[in-house]
Structures are given as C-alpha cells and as structure tokens.
C-alpha cells in the first residue's frame, strides 16, 4: 500500500519536473519580455494581482525593471543545466575512477582514496569560494567546481561494489577464461552498480541546485546579468519587505524543483532497494 502511494507521489513529481523542463526549454516563447532588458522606469513593479502591477509583467519586475517571470523561466535553464550536467559529469568521472580504483587496486586506488579524503575534509563551500576566486565566475567554472566537489561520492560507492564483486566466482572464472577486463567491467560490474548510483545521482541533482543557489548567494554563482534562481534570491534578499516578490518566486521555484527531485529519489531508493549506505 505504501508503494502505491509513494508511486503516486513519484509520478506527480516526474510530471512537475517535466513541466519545469519544458518551461525552461520553451522559455523564449513563454516569456512576456526579454530577461536581460532593463528599463529603469519600470523598476520594482509588483505582481499583477497587486496594486500597481500590470499584465505586462505578471510576476512583477526587479530592481532594474527586468521582468521576473521571464527571468524565472530562463533561470530554470541555468538551474537545470547546472544540476544535470554537473551530476552527469561528476557521476561519469566518479564511476570511472571508482571502477578503476576498485578493480585494479594498487597505487591508483590509494591515490584516489587519499584525494577523496582530503577533499572531504575541505569544507565544500570553501572549495567553491577558493576555486571560483581563482578561475573567476562563469557557468563552465561553476560546473567545474561542483563536479570536483561531487565525484568522490560516486567513486566511493562504485569502488565498494567493485571490490566486493571482484572476488566473486563468476568474475574470477571469467578472468581465468581470458575475458578482457573492459568487457568484464562493462558487462558484469556496471549493471550491478547503476542502482545505487542512480539514487545518489538523483539526490545529487537536488543538492547541486541548492549549492548553486548558495554560491550565488555569496556572489560566486553564474555571473550577472544571466538570470539564475540563486542570483535572483541574492538580489531579492535586500528587498524582502519592500519587494517581497523578488525573493519569493525564485525561492519557491528552487524549493519546488528540489522537492520533486527528492521525492523521485526517495521512490527510486525504495524501488531499487540498493544497499546504499544510509549516510549518503
């Protein structure tokens, strides 16, 4: 009975996520105005259901007269791209490194694990602040920073699985028969590993979106004038009492997207029932 209810929530979440993605892709068509166009005369107009609002700007305008709804839609692109691309790259890199480390062991494994330990001891945000100060802000740099701080989780899980599988009879038998390592990894190891990876990856997307918002809050995210939800929250926090709509909408958007992704991840975890360390 639980499974069915969970499934309902997961399906609803997927629909919401699909809708958000569609909105992001269709942003140019759905936006009432250009997100970068600023017009000082239209500063800080409230949403249209408030006094002083207008239908031309349904969710109001920001401090430079830019339309909030348009920025919200274009901002969805940034958040989703940052979230998914980061996870795909860090996942791929982490899985590859984890498999190699687990399978071949030796110094490669040692180096990877030590690097991972060092990285974990580095407060994540600090790593972001330091690296972005070196590299400068930018979408590519941001993704790079998030990838660097994220790969280790996947690597650990995969390594653990690889280690335990390595010594199973069928693997040893296959090796004895002369099977290529690559084939082994591809055919036998990876399929056993994708379940926990999928779960972790899903939660990672959510965490990455929040991380992007946090870095933007510190002024290090995707640079102006590109709209991103985190940056919009950052701009809006100075106007909480006078321009509440500036922070409310992007904050709610982040909350909503992260929430549905977490729900999907929850369902995935229950469905796949992988032996993932609960501490992830």
């Amino acid at each position: 009975m639980t499974r069915r209810r969970d499934k309902g929530a997961a399906v609803a979440s997927l629909i919401v996520l699909a809708a958000v993605t569609a909105a992001a892709i269709l942003a140019p068509m759905l936006s009432p105005a250009e997100p970068l166009r600023n017009d000082l005369l239209e500063r800080l107009t409230p949403p249209m259901w408030n006094a002083g609002g207008s239908a031309a700007h349904p969710l109001g305008t920001d401090t430079l007269g830019r339309d909030v709804l348009s920025r919200l839609l274009y901002g969805a692109r940034v958040s989703l791209v940052v979230g998914f691309v980061t996870v795909i790259i860090s996942g791929a890199a982490g899985v590859a490194l984890g498999v190699l480390g687990g399978f071949y062991g030796g110094w490669l494994d040692d180096v990877l694990m030590r690097a991972g330990d060092v990285q974990l001891a580095f407060p994540v945000l600090l790593l972001g602040v330091a690296l972005l100060s070196v590299l400068g802000p930018g979408l590519v740099n941001l993704v790079l920073v998030l990838v660097v701080s994220g790969w280790i989780t996947y690597a650990r899980i995969v390594r653990g699985e690889t280690l335990s599988l390595k010594h199973r009879e069928f693997v040893e038998a296959a090796r004895a028969l002369g099977a290529l390592d690559g084939r082994l990894i591809w055919r036998h190891l990876l399929p056993n590993v994708w379940a926990p990876i999928a779960v972790v990856a899903t939660f990672s997307v959510a965490r990455t979106i929040i991380a992007e918002a946090s870095l933007s809050f510190l002024g290090l995210g995707v640079p102006a004038p590109t709209p991103s939800w985190g940056a919009m929250l950052d701009e809006g926090r100075n106007y909480i009492t006078t321009g509440w709509w500036l922070a409310l909408f992007p904050g709610t958007a982040i909350l909503l997207v992260v929430l549905v992704i977490n729900l999907i991840g929850d369902w995935l975890r229950d469905a796949l029932d992988p032996r993932v360390e609960r501490g992830i």
Binding site: A121, F122, L125, R278
Partner: protein, 307 residues
C-alpha cells in the same frame, strides 16, 4: 585496537597536511594582496616593494618550506589585513562563535532526530509519519540561507525583535542561526533514524523477541536501537563536520562573527595566512571528528577493528 588507532591517526595527519598544502598553492594562484595594502594612486614600484616586504616574491617552494617549518609551532604568519597573528585571529573567531553555533545546531539536529525518527517508525504510514515526511522533505529542499531569511523576517521583523536578527552575545542570538543551520540535517537525520529503526524492527531476532513476549519498549530500546545506532553514529559525527561547512552561509546571513565568515572574507582579500590557518583548523576538526566516529564504530562493532 592500538594499531587501528595509530593507523587512523597517521591517516588523519596526512589528510590535514594534504588539505593545507592544496590550499597553500591554490590561494597563491589567485594572485597576491600587495595591491590592497596601498593607496589607489600607488605605482607599480610601490606595489612591488610591498610584495617584497610581505615575502611574497620569493619562489613558491621557498615560501612553502618556510610555512612548513613554522606551522608545527603554531605560527601561521601574520594576517596581512589585520597585522595580527593569523592563528590567533582564527582561534578568536572559532571560539566561542563558530563552536557555539555548530554545537547548538549539531545537538538540535541529532538529539531531536532520535525521538522524531522513532515516532515516525512506530507510527509508520499513519498521520504522524506523513506529516514528518512532508516536513522533512520541505526542510531538506530549502537552501539554508532562505530558511534563515524567512526566520529573520518572521521573528525579528514581524514580531518586532522577539528574537534578535544579528550578531552574538546572548542565548537569544543563538536561536535563529542554530535553527536555520540545523533544520535540513535534522530532517535528514530523523529520516535516517526512522529507516534504521524500520529495518531493524523487521528483522528476525526482533520478531523472535516479540514472539517470546518481550514488551515492545524493551524491544525498541534494547535490541533495535543499539543496532540502528551504527549509521546514527556515522551521521551524527559527520553532521558536526558539515555544520562547520554550512555555518559559513548562516554566519553571513546572521552576521555571526564566526570562523566561516572570517575565511570567506579572507579569500577575496587574499589574506593567505588567515586562509591557511583557518582551513587548517577546519580540516583538523573534521579529521578529529572522523577519528572519534571511527573509534565509536570500532567500540560498537567489533568487526570494524579487524578490518
């Protein structure tokens, strides 16, 4: 056990060294602070002179060697901005500010998680469980600073200073930042306790105990919880570590004079000694916590000791 401890200690030292070295070279890649220390109308020669006085024109390996020699004595250099010993500055900000905040938040997020998780587990699929699940999901989906801003808006502005919005000093100042910092981990921990309890409650030996007629409460506390303790210990230990990290943003929102904020401010200012000292302290604490967690693990689960 002693060899286990020794191995972990060596490992810890290595990790701290690795972190500090990485930071050392990383921040020097970002340039140097000489230009900050002079007037806007300074010439290149003056800036070069300042750089020389700071010792930043020496070759990197020389600077690193000097650093390695001084660090074990606790000498991390002088803050370029404040002209005071860097480690002193760091410790001033660590204690009591960040420690207070991290401890308060860690306590909130672990101690409260236990009863919440147990209630969820024992009332599985009933109203309390659903409410807790929704609340937990919401809290985990919110960026910490947004929750902080909402709390400020509600308690400090709307309720006219019922709780202060800034700074530190009394226990009242600690409430809002600690809650903002603890919220997401609390939610996560409660779910973990719930999951751990559920898993254990379904296991054979529990069913056996039930069949034998052992009262429910005994089952809960003696058998189930002790085994659910292992992931819980891991999580609590790491919680404190992540508190230090998450504290950075919370400290910024609430103007809490802590170490996270100090380091974040030192980075754009290229205040190398402070950055290095601060990261060293962070890494040290994190490693020490990990060590304690590992030891607790070893105490609870004998298999680990041999691993």
């Amino acid at each position: 056990m002693p060899s286990f401890l020794l191995r972990r200690l060596i490992h810890g030292v290595f990790v701290v060294w690795g972190v500090v070295t990485a930071v050392f070279f990383l921040v020097r890649l970002t340039g140097d602070p000489s230009a900050f220390l002079v007037d806007q109308s300074a010439t290149r020669e003056e800036i070069a002179h300042t750089r020389h006085l700071l010792g930043l024109d020496r070759p990197l390996y020389q600077q690193y060697a000097a650093f390695l020699l001084a660090a074990p004595r606790g000498d991390f250099g002088t803050s370029i901005r404040d002209k005071r010993p860097a480690m002193g500055l760091v410790l001033e900000h660590l204690w009591p500010a960040t420690v207070e905040l991290a401890l308060a938040a860690a306590l909130l997020s672990t101690v409260l998680a236990v009863p919440l998780g147990i209630i969820s587990a024992t009332h599985k699929d009933r109203a309390a469980d659903h409410v807790s699940r929704i609340a937990s999901l919401l809290l985990q989906s919110m960026p910490g600073f947004w929750l902080g801003l909402l709390l400020i808006l509600l308690f400090a502005v709307e309720l006219r200073g019922f709780l202060p919005a800034f700074g530190s000093g009394t226990w009242r100042h600690l409430v809002l930042p600690a809650v903002a910092l603890a919220a997401a981990p609390l939610a996560q921990n409660a779910r973990l306790v719930r999951a751990g309890m559920l898993e254990v409650l379904q296991q054979d030996y529990v069913r056996t105990a039930r069949a034998k007629g052992v009262p429910e409460r005994g089952i809960l506390y003696r058998h189930a919880f002790k085994n659910a303790a292992i992931p819980f210990i891991t999580v609590s230990g790491l919680s404190l570590g992540f508190m230090l990290s998450g504290a950075i943003i919370i400290e910024t929102v609430f103007a809490w004079p802590g170490l996270g904020r100090l380091i974040v401010q030192a980075v754009p200012g290229r205040d190398f000694p402070v950055i290095q000292a601060g990261v060293f302290v962070f890494a040290l604490i994190f490693v020490a916590l990990n060590l304690v967690v590992d030891l607790l693990y070893a105490a609870v689960d004998p298999r680990v000791r041999l691993g």
